[in-house]
């Protein structure tokens, strides 16, 4: 739910966090905990580690609500960015010295692509997601998917292609800087 929370919700949440409202922190957790935990788990593949990242991410946000700039995008995207940044930093830490530098970089790239892909899937418009779900997980061909979704076959093809195009951007960006400015580091 609440994937499409209006920017107003984002700004208001930021204000409530800034003034130290514990109830707002609870709401923030309820909305984003599975996102944060899921991304961390995707990067680290370890539930305990993902729990820890979740604690760090919410701790960071609670201490630094002003670090969020609504002009730069949604709160959800910001939270995801922090989560991924922390998880990747942790991955680097744990993998350090376990292989060559190239192997480490490759691992980081793959983990980032996987995490971005997850984020893209959960954030893409519901109709695209539904089409992908039918075709990929339920093994429906695009004609069946069209019938299931009550759309034309053209439209079903379009949704599958567009959905995959969105998803493929996860790879395209995975190689870029791993800690963009403004992420901040949680203690």
């Amino acid at each position: 739910m609440a994937k499409d929370a209006p920017p107003r919700w984002d700004r208001r949440m930021q204000q409530r966090l800034a003034r130290g409202e514990a109830a707002a922190l609870g709401e923030l957790y309820d909305r984003f905990a599975s996102l944060v935990h899921g991304l961390a788990y995707r990067v680290l593949g370890d539930e305990r580690a993902a729990d820890k990242i979740t604690r760090e991410v919410f701790g960071y946000i609670w201490e630094n609500p002003d670090a969020y700039d609504p002009k730069q995008g949604s709160l959800r995207a910001w939270v995801a960015r922090i989560a991924q940044g922390q998880a990747v930093a942790r991955l680097r830490q744990t993998e350090l010295g376990r292989g060559s530098r190239e192997e480490l970089e490759q691992k980081v790239r793959m983990a980032q692509a996987a995490a971005r892909a997850d984020y893209i899937v959960t954030s893409m418009p519901a109709p695209l997601r539904a089409a992908l779900e039918l075709a990929y997980f339920q093994r429906r061909d695009y004609r069946q998917a069209a019938a299931d979704l009550g759309v034309t076959e053209d439209e079903a093809r379009r949704r599958l292609r567009l959905g995959l195009q969105l998803l493929s951007t996860a790879y395209a960006l995975a190689g870029e800087g791993t800690s963009p400015p403004g992420w901040g580091t949680a203690r």
Binding site: G38, Y41, A80, D154
Partner: protein
């Protein structure tokens, strides 16, 4: 993605070996995970429209990657004959997912040998498919919420805390919401039989998972109304206890109640918590009138937390999920509330001729006959219940009976889920007093 496994990967390498670059060319696509990117969700490269709306307008120019020429737009496929580049291109997504017919697959793959643009996109989409994976459905540990929030509050204490007495409600509503997270329509419409105890026997009412959430929302609404918030039953809801409110809310809701009830229920519970956080001392003077009893606001929150847990358990049973009891601390508070309510309920049952008469008048504050309630397990504790009058004091010297019960068993009893004479209770002493207290405990329940 809530797929349930069965990830299949379209056979790699059985294509005609497209003449495409091995590494997909970087795209100029916006990605909101990228530094400084503004959009709230990823947008396709060349698509500058509104991504959310795109699907509603099939006629709109299809957004395509940079590889596309001026020839895009699937249009309607000709019934037969060689397909146009545009049609083949439109099939690339379905092809990458192995979701087109054998004949179409063949046509696409033939096209890939001669069209570098499509071959490049095909490779890119196939790679994207490998990023799809079934949702592992990793259920968040419900205890993680408490740990995370506590950790935060240590790092930076809240200036506006959630009152301590509202914590069980906060936790239980969050736990229930997490349970609902992955429910599909089948779960939302799973039948649930709500049970409670009235006077001398068990009552029940059939509804669905969604109906249970509507019930919780209707009764939480009584607390909302006391706090001056919107009543989910509308401004003219008027009087009425939990039962009649629930029936009215069900009658006024979509039939059957659907999953759409989740968000307003959750929003109301969040609003309640936010509101009491700001209420401060004013909250101490408010009471919620349930009809037979009026509870101070703090107790009403505890009662709502109890109900939330009980019904979450009903829901979990209905869909065959496990569901843990609340933490020992919260359970203790819930049992404490029940123990404090028991003398009043007992007196009410006595007036209705449902319990044995008091044995002699006890002046207010004077020690009267007492029953000792020993609760074991998480939430454990012992409580002295005044048997003769809510106003009487309890006293060790006047203890005539003792009941020992597991906390979970006591809660099942107080929720009306087990009959008083079936409760697995260790008993000792005055049998009539024991029976009366067990029946009074069951009578705490209602729809």
């Amino acid at each position: 993605m809530n797929g349930n496994g069965n990830a299949h990967h379209p056979g790699d390498g059985d294509g005609p070996g497209p003449v495409a670059p091995r590494i997909p060319a970087p795209r100029g696509a916006a990605d909101d995970l990228g530094p400084g990117a503004a959009p709230a969700r990823p947008e396709p490269g060349a698509h500058t429209g509104r991504p959310t709306d795109a699907h509603e307008e099939p006629s709109e120019e299809p957004p395509v990657g940079p590889a596309s020429g001026p020839d895009h737009g699937p249009g309607s496929a000709p019934p037969s004959e060689p397909r146009s580049h545009a049609v083949l291109k439109s099939l690339l997504g379905a092809w990458a997912l192995a979701a087109c017919s054998a004949e179409e697959t063949e046509a696409v793959e033939e096209h890939l040998t001669e069209c570098a643009g499509c071959a490049e996109e095909a490779l890119r989409l196939r790679e994207a498919v490998s990023l799809l994976h079934p949702d592992e459905n990793l259920d968040l540990d419900p205890l993680l919420r408490t740990r995370v929030l506590e950790g935060c509050l240590v790092r930076r204490p809240a200036r506006i805390p959630v009152p301590l007495w509202a914590a069980p409600y906060d936790t239980e509503t969050a736990r229930l919401d997490a349970l609902l997270q992955d429910f599909g329509d089948a779960e939302w419409h799973a039948p649930v039989r709500l049970k409670w105890f009235e006077d001398t026997g068990q009552q029940s009412r059939r509804t669905t998972v969604a109906g249970v959430i509507a019930h919780l929302m209707a009764v939480d609404g009584m607390v909302a109304a006391v706090l001056g918030l919107d009543d989910p039953l509308g401004p003219d809801a008027g009087a009425g206890g939990p039962h009649s409110r629930t029936e009215r809310f069900w009658a006024a809701s979509a039939d059957p109640v659907t999953r759409r009830v989740r968000e307003p229920w959750r929003e109301q519970s969040h609003t309640l918590l936010r509101t009491v956080s700001f209420a401060g001392r004013a909250a101490d003077t408010l009471t919620v009138d349930y009809g037979p009893v009026a509870l101070p606001l703090a107790d009403a929150f505890l009662e709502r937390a109890f109900e939330c847990w009980v019904h979450a358990g009903d829901i979990a049973d209905a869909v065959d999920y496990p569901y843990d009891p609340p933490s020992g601390v919260h359970m203790h508070a819930m049992i404490d509330l029940a123990a404090r309510l028991l003398p009043g309920v007992l007196a009410g049952r006595r007036r209705a001729g449902l319990a044995a008469p008091a044995q002699g008048l006890v002046a207010a504050g004077a020690p009267g006959r007492t029953l000792r309630l020993e609760i074991e397990g998480a939430g454990r504790g012992s409580w002295d219940i005044a048997l003769d009058s809510p106003a009487a004091a309890t006293s060790a010297d006047h203890t005539v009976a003792e009941i020992a019960l597991d906390a979970a068993e006591f809660c099942r009893l107080a929720a009306g889920h087990i009959a008083p004479d079936e409760a697995a209770a260790g008993q000792h002493g005055d049998r009539e007093a024991i029976r009366d207290v067990l029946f009074a405990a069951a009578s705490l329940s209602r729809l």
